[in-house]
């Protein structure tokens, strides 16, 4: 596993001339799991898409090992940086094996068959995601959690050192969410893959992230380990939400409990009044 440095310098980006991110500097920690959090429309996906080269920055630059993406051949870049989009498209009647095999595209030459190296990478990726037994099934017939594991396996077959995932748990129930994050953690520990993902569940983010990036209105509000940055104040600033900070009884990581007014117990009535004033 190679160590790569990936950073955004004074990045300005958005869609169709609408600026969403207006000049931020981010350095992705190598061989760690980073999670980007923030409210809807804060620019998390935009940032991810810039790093994954799906959109080009308006200004500023993204540097991989100190050089811009346009300096590199796109197939070579595809061997270093991979992405699992939010809702990738499943081709009609494709089997698990064939879909995972598509991750080998950057390594293939025209007309050549899958090499033994390709086949090993595919087997290993399916094994890691626990989908080896599903290899001959049609992807469209799998459950949501299985399908997501197949997609991650495809991204793993690409054997990139850096992997971006755009909300990999969003459409999954809680047991699958935990399962996916466990698998990603395992991948990071075993292979040292740098993982960067957008997550909505703050407590799962807190548990699995080595580094959190908190964004609001296209700006980076805070960056650091969950222990260092995740607290009531950050939640108020980023999500405009009153919370109580607790400790995750399982992992010991910061645990956020939102307040809201409807369920306040008598002993927290005073807190409730404060909230109604804020709201």
């Amino acid at each position: 596993m190679n160590i790569h440095t990936l950073q955004a310098k004074n990045l300005k980006a958005g869609y169709n001339k609408t600026v969403i991110i207006d000049g931020i500097d981010v350095t992705i920690p190598s061989n760690k799991i980073s999670v980007i959090i923030g409210s809807n429309g804060c620019g998390k996906s935009t940032l991810l898409k810039n790093f994954a080269r799906l959109i080009k920055p308006f200004d500023g630059e993204i540097l991989l090992d100190g050089a811009g993406y346009d300096k590199m051949h796109s197939k070579d870049l595809a061997k270093i940086i991979g992405l699992l989009p939010q809702s990738p498209m499943v081709p009609e009647s494709i089997t698990v094996y064939d879909l995972v095999a598509r991750g080998r595209y950057p390594y293939q030459k025209p007309f050549s068959q899958l090499t033994s190296e390709d086949q090993e990478a595919i087997e290993e990726a399916m094994e890691m995601m626990g989908v080896s037994k599903l290899r001959d099934q049609f992807v469209e017939e799998l459950s949501g959690g299985q399908r997501q594991r197949v997609w991650i396996a495809m991204a793993l077959a690409q054997q990139t050192d850096i992997l971006f995932l755009d909300e990999p748990t969003t459409f999954l129930d809680i047991s699958y969410q935990v399962q996916i994050l466990e698998l990603l953690k395992n991948l990071n520990e075993k292979k040292g893959t740098t993982i960067v993902m957008v997550l909505h569940d703050i407590n799962l983010a807190s548990r699995y992230a080595d580094c959190l990036f908190a964004m609001k209105n296209g700006e980076l509000i805070a960056a650091g380990s969950p222990e260092d940055i995740l607290n009531e104040e950050l939640m108020l600033r980023v999500f405009n939400l009153e919370c109580i900070l607790m400790k995750d009884p399982v992992s010991g990581s910061p645990f956020i409990v939102p307040k809201g007014r409807a369920h306040l117990r008598p002993e927290s009535q005073d807190e409730g009044k404060k909230i109604s004033q804020v709201v």
């Binding site: 994954a52 070579d76 595809a78 498209m89 081709p91 009647s93 064939d98 595209y105």
Partner: protein
């Protein structure tokens, strides 16, 4: 893995045999029917009174042009559908075929051109419509549905334009009119078909050579980029190759309805390994054209040009397709 590869190859072989069998019937059936031995003898160069002329001068050109047109439509339609991930997105549904036809009939009947110049006009027509559709459908990120709807509109317009040109040119010859309204093999000639053959050969090989890129392009808008495909360039090149192929075919046989729409879709439904299958789709196109021609020429008291039959088959297939899409969502 191996069984899937086997399936793709065995379907290819079966389709090839299908083309051979239909090819024999194309040469055998007609005003007078000849048996296999006679057909083979004539093909070997033996001079048989009556048969030689009918087979070599009338039926063989139809057969060869029909195969070429079928392959062109099948490969091009399949490429369109794979790239746009929608079975409705084929050159005939989207007006590329009709537009090539309109330009070809304009070149022939109004300008009095023939040969390569007609193909050039047809290509210009096809490319022009493709460029219009895709540049308008871009706007706020590329919308395939927008492109398809716009194509359907253009298709109707171009069909009207063909009728208009036929009237302006006083084309009272019914067979000529039918040729440009729905496509037919009746005026197929081998002289001058060399360019057609070379175009289909080169572009089919090129598209087959890009199979891996096509497979990646079918993964949506984002993954192809991160897998290292230059998505814009690859799409444009492959779509243009398809447009040129279908336009040249249209210059020779007129706007064949539904062939490019059905061939790829049927092929993918049969093989079902999530692949691209350009060659199989091409042979499927040839099978659709040849069997429609055989039905049109032999099944009824009146002879119908091939395009009428493909159109008649295409309509229920479209309905079936729409129903099956709805069932999947529901």
């Amino acid at each position: 893995m191996r069984t899937r590869k086997k399936k793709e190859i065995s379907v290819l072989i079966i389709l090839f045999i299908g083309v051979l069998i239909l090819g024999f019937f194309m040469l055998s059936l007609g005003e007078s029917n000849y048996d296999l031995a006679t057909v083979v003898k004539v093909l070997m160069g033996q001079e048989i009174k009556g048969a030689s002329f009918a087979v070599m001068s009338l039926r063989l050109p139809k057969l060869i042009i029909g195969i070429l047109a079928g392959i062109a439509c099948g490969v091009a339609g399949n490429t369109f559908q794979v790239i746009m991930k929608n079975p409705l997105a084929s050159p005939d549904v989207m007006g590329v075929t009709s537009s090539a036809g309109a330009m070809a009939v304009f070149a022939i009947l109004i300008l009095g051109l023939e040969g390569v110049a007609v193909s050039a006009f047809a290509i210009a027509g096809g490319v022009l419509v493709a460029v219009i559709i895709f540049s308008f459908a871009r706007g706020n990120g590329f919308s395939i549905n927008k492109a398809i709807l716009m194509g359907i509109g253009i298709q109707a317009m171009m069909q009207a334009l063909i009728t208009f040109i036929l009237q302006q040119a006083n084309a009272y010859d019914l067979s000529k009119a039918m040729h440009w309204l729905s496509g037919s093999l009746n005026s197929a000639k081998l002289s001058g078909a060399g360019g057609f053959f070379i175009t289909v050969l080169i572009l089919t090989c090129f598209i087959q050579y890009r199979t891996k890129e096509l497979k990646v392009l079918s993964l949506g808008e984002e993954l192809p980029v991160t897998l290292g495909v230059n998505i814009d360039r690859e799409r444009i090149v492959l779509l243009m190759a398809s447009v040129i192929m279908v336009s040249v075919a249209t210059a020779y046989v007129g706007p064949l309805a539904s062939v490019s729409f059905m061939a790829g879709h049927i092929t993918r439904r049969i093989i079902k390994t999530g692949g691209v299958y350009s060659l199989q789709a091409g042979l499927m196109g040839a099978i659709i054209v040849l069997s429609s021609e055989l039905i049109g020429q032999n099944a009824f008291a009146i002879r119908f040009p091939v395009g009428v039959i493909t159109g008649i088959i295409g309509a229920p297939y479209l309905i079936y397709l729409l129903l099956s899409i709805r069932n999947k969502r529901g």
